[in-house]
């Protein structure tokens, strides 16, 4: 609670697992290429290992990566040229899923930041709301799906509602902690200087809380992805989760692997985008603002 904002990130590290050496090479633009080349080499190495292992074992549950790739092409890129070769599965399942994810997550993020910063600057709000908020944070969100199902019905609104309700708490709590942790000397100084209320919030409180807010946003992104899949597995007639459950029911193992790989790629890509945004927004921050991915 009393930890300064800039150490908070260490619980959920933003950067990868590369040591400080990689961080250093990446900041100098000229040596970027070797790092990428090294990454590509390692990736090729692992995929070939995967290919060899699955080819040798010939297990129907573990298709080879080549087989999965072929299945992925069939699933997503074998459509008519008018649709840029994209299939109906991309247009009716992948894109709607992504839309719900982005909508739910950004709505929860906006609400969470606004409420969190407001509650964090209020004198007693934390004391009053501590227990309900931490309990809400501890909720097993997947179990709420049946309740939300009767409240919102089958369909896209269920997924969005699930994501908003599951994802808002980490953002809110982190924004609140960030806003609470502002140095009292600073806030007193600015009060003496009679700085305007909007400027105080926008130029002091939000930037000071930003590192914690980004921690919350990153946690909430991974939860949002989980809840998208859960709600679509249970109560949807389209979407990635729905297709995944169909692939399981029809024992189409290569397709199942392809959907899982897509979800992994989505998680990775969205996380990267968020990190890029963080490095932009927190460029002033000594540790979190550097492009170390």
């Amino acid at each position: 609670m009393t930890s300064p904002p800039d150490t908070s990130d260490r619980t959920v590290p933003s950067t990868g697992l590369h040591g400080p050496d990689t961080a250093r090479t990446n900041t100098t633009q000229g040596r970027r290429t070797p790092a990428i080349a090294r990454g590509a080499a390692v990736a090729t190495c692992w995929v070939s290992l995967w290919q060899i292992a699955t080819t040798l074992s010939v297990h129907p549950y573990f298709p080879t990566p080549l087989r999965i790739a072929r299945s992925a092409v069939d699933l997503w890129f074998s459509g008519p040229p008018a649709h840029l070769l994209l299939t109906d599965q991309v247009l009716h399942d992948v894109l709607p899923s992504l839309g719900r994810l982005v909508l739910g997550w950004s709505a929860a993020a906006a609400l969470g930041v606004i409420l969190g910063v407001g509650l964090g600057r209020s004198r007693y709000a934390y004391d009053y709301l501590r227990v309900p908020l931490t309990l809400a944070r501890a909720l097993p969100q997947p179990l709420l799906v049946p309740v939300l199902l009767v409240l919102f019905g089958l369909g896209p609104s269920l997924t969005v509602a699930c994501i908003v309700l599951g994802v808002i708490w980490p953002v809110l709590l982190n924004a609140m902690d960030g806003a609470r942790d502002i140095d009292p000397a600073l806030s007193d100084t600015l009060r003496v200087a009679r700085i305007g209320r909007t400027r105080w919030v926008l130029h002091i409180v939000v930037p000071a809380a930003a590192p914690r807010i980004f921690t919350g946003l990153r946690i909430s992104l991974s939860i949002a992805l989980i809840l998208m899949v859960v709600s679509e597995l249970v109560g949807s007639t389209n979407g990635i989760g729905y297709r995944l459950s169909i692939a399981q029911a029809t024992f189409d193992l290569p397709a199942m692997w392809a959907w899982i790989c897509l979800l992994s790629a989505l998680g990775y890509g969205l996380n990267r985008l968020l990190l890029l945004a963080q490095h932009r927004v927190l460029a002033w921050h000594p540790r979190l603002g550097q492009g170390t991915t």
Binding site: T2, S3, S8, T11, V12, P13, G16, L17, H18, G19, P20, G39, V42, A43, C45, Y61, D127, Y128, L129, R130, V131, P132, T134, L135, A136, A138, P140, Q141, P142, L143, L144, V145, P146, V147, L149, V150, L151, P170, D177, T215, I219, L225, I226, M228, V229, V230, L233, V234, L244, S245, Q248, F251, L253, M256, I260, L263, S264, G267, Y268, L270
Partner: protein, 258 residues
Amino acid sequence: MSARVARAGRAVLGVAVTAGGWEAACRAGLVPAAYLPPPTVVVGQVARLLATPSFRADAVSTGLSWAIAVGGATMIGVALGLLMGAVPVLRALLAPVVEVLRPLPSVALIPLAVVVLGSGSQIKITVAMFAATWPVLINTVHAVHAIDPLQVDTARIYRVPRHRVLLRLTLPAIAPAVATGIRLSASIAVIVVVGTEFLAGGTIGLGQFAYLQGATVGRMDLVLATVLLVAVANYAVDTALLGLQRRTMPWAEPQEAR
């Protein structure tokens, strides 16, 4: 002391007002009580459920699976993290794999786990272990990096045997970060175990109970009672682990993880 009492009083008041508002909304018909029962009903059901032997068996199954998943994740995470922290080649090889696998939503693995592992408790344990390993692993790797190289070099100069360096220097140095990782993992594992029970079926577990009561019978009071119970348990475990961390490692203030 009085400040403490005042804070506790405000917390109680906050809970009372929140629950009261929910109750009033239900009683006034703002929300359909069949879908979202009032807290008095839900709390009553919690007490009744806890007295039911079959429900207690569900809770024990969930709790055991959770403990196994967290224990396994801790062992895998710390061992792998130490190796990755100590051997640069291993880190270069494994870091990309971790970075690709970590953002994978664990529930996406449930269909695969069902096909491969059948329908026993091993599904929920495996999926939860997958999800819970990352925080421990990543915190361990970062903590190993943060060890002062001067201390390691000093130990090396004095020819301290490797196992003693590990026991006396490395493990105590990384302990606080690992504890934070375990706390995060414990909370993730609760939700993944229950969620897997909910989605993958199986025969026993709190998630399975909520699925049967919610999706087939429509008893939202029982679903919400289970949800409340799991949330309180999750919160209690987190608080207990935080207390344990403060007591056993007084030299490092635990980081708030939310």
